[in-house]
């Protein structure tokens, strides 16, 4: 089963016990970004809703980089060794 390293930004580390990087395993084939977010939420309950709204869209000020490219489509298929980085984007004062 593919596993992915996910970099966690400071605003979300209250969910990961302070960890700045976590590894999640997904079972879906092919693995999609949505599967990683679901696995992340299973391991760290509540984290997904802070990033993805109830309509399934990425929240405006959360960015996810997949292999250093911004990816806003949760259905994007991931390469087997994709590096995932969540970032709190600029959101004013």
């Amino acid at each position: 089963m593919p596993a992915f390293d996910v970099a966690i930004p400071t605003p979300l580390r209250s969910y990961t016990g302070g960890a700045d990087r976590v590894r999640v395993t997904v079972t879906a084939q092919p693995p999609r970004l949505a599967d990683v977010l679901a696995a992340l939420d299973a391991a760290h309950p509540g984290i997904r809703f802070r990033m993805v709204d109830e309509a399934g869209r990425m929240r405006p000020h959360v960015q996810i980089f997949v292999d250093a490219r911004i990816e806003r489509d949760p259905q994007a298929v991931l390469a087997p060794d994709a590096q995932i980085m969540i970032v709190g984007a600029l959101s004013g004062g």
């Binding site: 809703f49 802070r50 309509a55 929240r59 709190g88 959101s91």
Partner: protein, 380 residues
Amino acid sequence: MAQRTGSTRIAAPRRVRLLVTTRKGLWTMTSDATRRSWKLAGPQFLGHIVHHAMLDPRDGKTLLAAARTGHLGPTVFRSTDGGRSWKEAVKPPAFAADSGRVVDHTFWLAPGHASQPGVWWAGTSPQGLFRSADGGATWEGVAGFNAHPQRKAWCGGDQDGTPDGPKLHSVLIDPRDALHMYIGMSSGGVFESQDGGADWRPLNQGVRADFQPNPDIEFGHDPHCVRFAGGNPDRLYQQNHCGLFRLDRPATRWQDIGVGMPKSVGYVGFPMVTHPHDEDTAWIFPMDGTDVWPRISPGGKPAAYRTRDGGKSWKRQADGMPKAQAWWTVKRQAMTADAFPTVGVYFGTTSGELWGSRDEGRIWKCLAAHLPHIYSVTVA
């Protein structure tokens, strides 16, 4: 009949605690029964935008706080030990996935009826009504409102409304009947349910809507804050975008109670605070609603105004406040009263000052300064 403190013996609480929510976290202010010496504590949720925090009066120890951050989506935090520790709701308020609607923030928290321990209600921006039956751990949308076929006609689109997003606020539960409720919406108006939220009808007759082509419309109004009169849930007071109004049920037409306000001050503001023991007494905090709507103290001279006759007349209460060059804004949830026999009144400004009066508004004192933008002040 008014329950004036002179004719009804009311026990003084042993202490008073205020929950002060801000754009950057939650603070608490506590005092003993003298209400002369205050202690500020906090912050909790540093960096979170905390729109509202409320104590559950049914158990005296459960607190809920509605929060989000600039980056992250909206959630609700719960404490069952009076605020010492907090846990996030397992399922925060969120619209049905197939509705296409998205909760931007939970704006208003209201404990449910005394006969329904664990029940809480939440109003959101954009306008949505949610209910929890387990003390705020999980929340379900109230389909009777959120999926009502008239909802969009009542409220307009989710992008319409107030600058920080349209809101559902002023969730009022009739203390005599858990099924009888009122809500206020900016925009939308005041609505009433007789069946616990399964169905709703507009209740806006007599309220002006000067910003509408037809100012006498059935709905589409902009109430800023609606409160029950102290000791009389058949009386409602409303601070509206277009004035001050009072409704005495079973009547359905609101009475204009803004005519007694000085013309130089006007009748625009956000909060409405009612006296807990006297149905005829209420406080407002007027703001400039002229020209381009600055929404700050008229002329830079802040003051509360109090009525003791149900809104027929209003008295300026500004002793202790700056006399000039104080350009304050007080939001709709940022003014409240305690339940002492001689009521304490408190308000917070968007410039981060917390003010209080221990004598029903006669003399005011700055209790704290240098806080972030204050969103709400509630007694806990």
